[in-house]
Symmetry: C2
Subunit: 387 residues, 2 copies
């Protein structure tokens, strides 16, 4: 079993639950219905890779007061029983006649008064992880109860990390940092990109990752075509810029950062772009303070890049980080979320290079009252070159 | 880029699209709206680990005739452009004002007549991977068009695998088989379970996995507590039964099978249970034929186990397999889906052991007209013992 490695102490979960309940009170919600791996792990500590199977829905309810209730497939009863949750109601899933919906509706109807309100995350960056037809049926069963969007209720709690959460993200960042130090042994002229991806994942595991949920990257002359592709089999060429971007997971928490490497050599333009991205990041590391807006970070980054004579690329230039690879807020011109102390964030400027290619740069921080504290070992100030 | 390794030839995708369109015609659907990684990969060949970020929705539309249309965040335009899809419409996501919904609605309104019908997967084992509030808004924008459940429309196409799909699943099975052969080097008395998990993932990558999306397992005296837990740090003890269950991915296709190992020694009861699970699987490998029902497989397995004097455990005793770790149908008493040639399936009997623990056994097959063809190297007929 996994108690020793993955669970937080009960008070951490009680604190989270109380914070959600305070947030629910402001929104007039009598219960929250959570269905996503991240929300359920956040509240309960229930951590499993079994989410990879789409076959079964899982439900956790947070009442206005008191402890959460799990309504889950019986296959998860033992693992949920290792968490702080004691009220665990199960059914044998998958059941094509009724896949937990009547059990869930009964539980919710007892928790939410007829004139009450149920909150469900249904806004940006959320998904309802249950069949839509079952949700529509559930809505009928819950009538006349109000069903409202609980995205903000959860977001404003989850986006402020406790110190034990920061410690876990820092540990994931350290693991990826150790793996990035191994890149000169893994990658270089003539080595196929898919071999680099494979060996980098091995390096992440060797450095202590529980699993590697995300690895993307690219390679091309002075820049890469995009930043979300899996690896192809082409060997690295002299003059290629190689980028690896990883979300390694340790004890349920992600890092999310990348590193760039030139293969054999880099031209002056490539070096200047790298320097500009590094400097733009440095500006944010120096000047970011709580009370600024997400859109301010976008302005700081693009302003610095333009001052360096570089064209900003990419839409979002950073985001929240924690239980998922990306969390709210987003560093775009459109997101005016206030940045608060305790947020863990990625700073991720991007630049256009020649031929429609790009270069990106990324660090992870926790925002303190005094400014950013780096969770990643800062990228080298000059572009490293591989043999 | 990834064309060389991940994409199928265009005719394979054209065949899939045509099969969906035939299926849509029977259901009177003018378009399908797909939002999940699996459905989108199936139709387009678009493969990325970027799905790990929940920030952005992605949409692919299959019209009643003609080629699919992608309505996607601009960050995915280059990668989607490497697939056979040529009509790619993008917006800069995330956009809190309108995250692709008006672009999607415009595209759908031109594709589906006012009195027409849009199909969306909303049944068992499906999720709508977009914010629920955006879906409710989209429904308003599409009125008075009918929105119906397209689960069966897609299921009946996706669950029959082409030979190139079978080849990919076979390749994933072979990779995991190679890794399982390495378990005696990785696991044994005194080795912590989390080290075993780490080294087994490394072995999967070394054997050719692109990534390891699923690894679970357990260890305990003569059986394990559950089959979905991540690893703890406890060292393996003499008499433990160790089980590893993996979904390794190669070119977008999963395997899903497990193997059991005794540590140092196993008692007679444990050996008898292993033999009974092996024999139950053998019965299905011998007798399964197209035209039988999913529930028949459940009966065959539980009947064989009971005849061996073993109590069946677990709810679902196998399922479909392919682009996701688990697919329809389910081998339960309640699923009466007809099994057809071309289905790739897991056969996964489970048994209760002492102290509330269990033992499971799993193989992967493709169902042929003549019966099952194994995709996994058959588990050893007697329980292997580790030092």
């Amino acid at each position: 079993m996994s108690e020793a490695r993955h669970a937080f102490a009960v008070p951490e979960h009680q604190r989270r639950c109380a914070a959600l309940q305070t947030s629910m009170q402001s929104a007039g919600m009598d219960a929250l219905l959570l269905t996503s791996p991240a929300d359920i792990f956040y509240v309960t500590g229930f951590l499993t890779r079994f989410w990879e199977s789409p076959a079964r829905p899982w439900f956790v309810l947070v009442p206005a007061s008191g402890a959460p209730v799990a309504v889950i497939p019986s296959i998860g009863e033992k693992l949920m029983g290792t968490t702080w949750i004691s009220d665990i109601r199960t059914w044998d899933a998958p059941d094509p006649r009724d896949d937990g919906i009547s059990l869930l509706a009964d539980t919710l109807c007892a928790m939410v008064p007829q004139k009450g309100r149920l909150g469900i995350p249904m806004g940006p960056e959320t998904h309802l992880r249950m069949p839509l037809a079952d949700f529509l049926h559930l809505s009928d069963l819950l009538a006349p109860r109000d069903i409202s969007d609980a995205t903000r209720v959860i977001q404003q709690v989850r986006e402020i990390k406790s110190e034990v959460e920061v410690d876990r993200i820092r540990a994931s960042c350290r693991i990826a940092g150790t793996a990035f130090e191994r890149v000169p042994d893994i990658a270089g002229y003539g080595i196929p990109l898919d071999h680099v991806f494979r060996d980098f994942q091995v390096a992440l595991l060797a450095a202590g990752a529980d699993w590697v949920s995300y690895l993307a990257g690219g390679a091309g002359p002075g820049g890469y075509d995009d930043v979300i592709s899996p690896a192809g089999a082409d060997p690295l060429r002299a003059g290629d810029l190689l980028m690896l971007d990883t979300g390694a997971v340790r004890q349920g928490y992600f890092c999310d950062f990348d590193r760039n490497f030139a293969v054999r050599h880099a031209d002056d333009g490539t070096r200047r772009t790298y320097d500009a991205l590094w400097a733009a990041t440095q500006t944010v590391l120096s000047d970011l303070r709580p009370g600024m807006r997400a859109s301010d970070v976008h302005s700081m980054l693009t302003g610095s890049l333009r001052a360096s004579g570089v064209t900003p690329g990419g839409g979002r230039l950073g985001h929240g980080l924690g239980i998922t690879l990306t969390e709210w807020p987003s560093f775009t011109p459109l997101d005016h979320s206030e940045l608060r102390a305790g947020m863990v964030l990625t700073i991720e400027p991007g630049a256009l290079t020649s031929g429609g290619r790009m270069m990106v740069h990324e660090e992870n921080i926790v925002l303190r009252d005094t400014g950013p504290e780096l969770l990643t070992a800062r990228a080298p100030a000059t572009l490293p070159v591989l043999d």
